[in-house]
C-alpha cells in the first residue's frame, strides 16, 4: 500500500497496526507476518509469530495499577499468561506484549474443567500485600446507562434496581472475601500454551471476592442458555480443585450472577439495536431472566 494512503484521521488504526507489528517483530522468536486477532471497541490486538501485541482501550486509566497487575501475574506463570514486561506507551496508547497461546475452539469440547481448576488454584494463592483491588463490577452500571427506551430496556433497568448500591456505583464496595481473582473470566480468557492451559487478560486482576470469577457461567446457567451439564463440569472442577467457595456456592453467587445476567442482557440489547435486528432466542432468555430477577426483589 503506498505510504500516501496513510494520511488523515481514518488512518489512525493502520498507523497503530504498523507500530504494533513493528514491536511484535522486535519481540518474536522468528520472523512472521503480522496478523490482526482483534479490532473492536478501540482495542487492537496484533499477532506476530509467538507474540501478541495489544493496544488497550484508549479511554481507560491504567498507570500504576496495570504495572502492579503485570507483576502479580508474572509471579503466577503456572496459571496466567502475563505480559512480558511493563506496559509501553505507543503514541499515547497503552501497549503490552504477551506470548501467544491458542484460543479455545468453540466447535470443540469446551475446557470447562480446566477453567474451573485454574480459577480454584488462582483463588488459593496468597494475596500479596501490594496487590491492587480487582477491577470492580462497574461495567454493568455503564452499560445500563447506555440503554435507550423499549420493553427489553425497561426490564433490564428494573432488574438493575434490585442490585446493591455499591454495584450501581452509589456506594463503596463493602468488605468481603479477599482472594486473587481474574475479575473478568469467560472462555475467551483461556489459551493453550506448550505448558498447558493458562488464563489470559490481566486488566481486572487483583484482590476481591472470588465469586465474581464464576458469575458469568452461573448467570448463563440460571438464564437457561448454558446447559446444566456444562455448568456442573465447571463448578464441579472448581470445587474438586479446592476452590474456596465451598458449600454455600449459590449463596455467594446470587449477587455476582444477577449482576452478570443484567450486564449480558444489556450487552445483547445494545448489540441488537446497533445492528437493527431482533433479539435471538438466547438473548431474549436473558431479558426474561431480568424479569425474574425483578420479581425476586432486592438482593
Amino acid at each position: 500500500m503506498p505510504a500516501g494512503w496513510l494520511t488523515g484521521p481514518v488512518q489512525t488504526v493502520p498507523q497503530l497496526f504498523g507500530r504494533l507489528a513493528e514491536i511484535g517483530r522486535g519481540s518474536a522468536g522468528a520472523p512472521a507476518e503480522p496478523e490482526t486477532l482483534y479490532d473492536r471497541h478501540g482495542v487492537l490486538v496484533v499477532r506476530v509469530g509467538d507474540v501478541v501485541v495489544k493496544a488497550h482501550q484508549p479511554d481507560r486509566e491504567y498507570g500504576a495499577a496495570l504495572a502492579a497487575r503485570i507483576r502479580l501475574a508474572a509471579g503466577l506463570p503456572h496459571l496466567l499468561l502475563a505480559p512480558s514486561g511493563p506496559p509501553l506507551d505507543v503514541d499515547g496508547r497503552t501497549v503490552t506484549v504477551t506470548p501467544y497461546g491458542d484460543p479455545v475452539d468453540p466447535a470443540a469440547d469446551l475446557p470447562w474443567e480446566e477453567g474451573g481448576r485454574l480459577l480454584a488454584e488462582l483463588h488459593a494463592c496468597p494475596v500479596p500485600p501490594d496487590a491492587p483491588p480487582w477491577g470492580r463490577p462497574g461495567r454493568v452500571a455503564r452499560l445500563v446507562a447506555r440503554l435507550g427506551g423499549g420493553a427489553a430496556e425497561t426490564e433490564i433497568r428494573r432488574a438493575f434496581a434490585t442490585l446493591p448500591p455499591w454495584i450501581r456505583g452509589e456506594a463503596e464496595e463493602p468488605p468481603g472475601p479477599r482472594r486473587v481473582i481474574h475479575g473478568d473470566w469467560h472462555l475467551g480468557q483461556m489459551v493453550r500454551t506448550a505448558d498447558g492451559w493458562r488464563l489470559l487478560d490481566i486488566e481486572d486482576l487483583g484482590a476481591g471476592d472470588p465469586a465474581w470469577d464464576l458469575a458469568r457461567p452461573a448467570a448463563l446457567h440460571l438464564g437457561g442458555v448454558l446447559h446444566a451439564g456444562e455448568w456442573s463440569r465447571f463448578a464441579g472442577a472448581y470445587t474438586a480443585a479446592g476452590g474456596p467457595i465451598g458449600r454455600d456456592l449459590w449463596g455467594a453467587l446470587d449477587v455476582p450472577a444477577r449482576s452478570l445476567a443484567i450486564q449480558i442482557a444489556a450487552t445483547c440489547v445494545i448489540s441488537a439495536r446497533g445492528e437493527d435486528r431482533p433479539l435471538d432466542g438466547p438473548e431474549q432468555a436473558m431479558i426474561d431472566t431480568c424479569s425474574r430477577i425483578s420479581r425476586t426483589g432486592a438482593a
Partner: protein
C-alpha cells in the same frame, strides 16, 4: 469375661474410640459406664454435621424453559450464546 445373660465368652471390639463387649453366643452387647452417652453424642454430631447446600437462586430459569442450542451430543455454541460465553 463371661456374658451375664448366657455365660458365653465376651469379645472386646473398639469402634470409633468406644469399647464394646459382645457375646460370641447370644450376640448381646455390654457397654461400660459412659459409653452409651458417647455413642449418643456421636450420633447427634453425625446428624448435625452437614448443613444442606444452598439452593440455586429463585430467579433461575425453570428447566422447561431452557434455551439450549444443543441437545444430547456435542454441538458448538453459536449466535448470541457464543458472544455471551466468549466475550466480555
Amino acid at each position: 469375661m463371661h456374658c451375664p445373660k448366657c455365660r458365653g465368652v465376651m469379645r472386646t471390639y473398639t469402634r470409633s474410640g468406644v469399647h464394646i463387649e459382645q457375646c460370641d453366643s447370644c450376640r448381646g452387647i455390654f457397654l461400660d459406664y459412659g459409653e452409651l452417652e458417647a455413642l449418643g453424642q456421636m450420633e447427634s454430631q453425625y446428624r448435625a454435621a452437614p448443613p444442606p447446600p444452598a439452593a440455586a437462586p429463585s430467579w433461575g430459569a425453570p428447566a422447561a424453559q431452557v434455551h439450549h442450542h444443543h441437545h444430547g451430543a456435542h454441538r458448538p455454541h453459536h449466535g448470541g450464546v457464543f458472544h455471551m460465553l466468549f466475550s466480555t
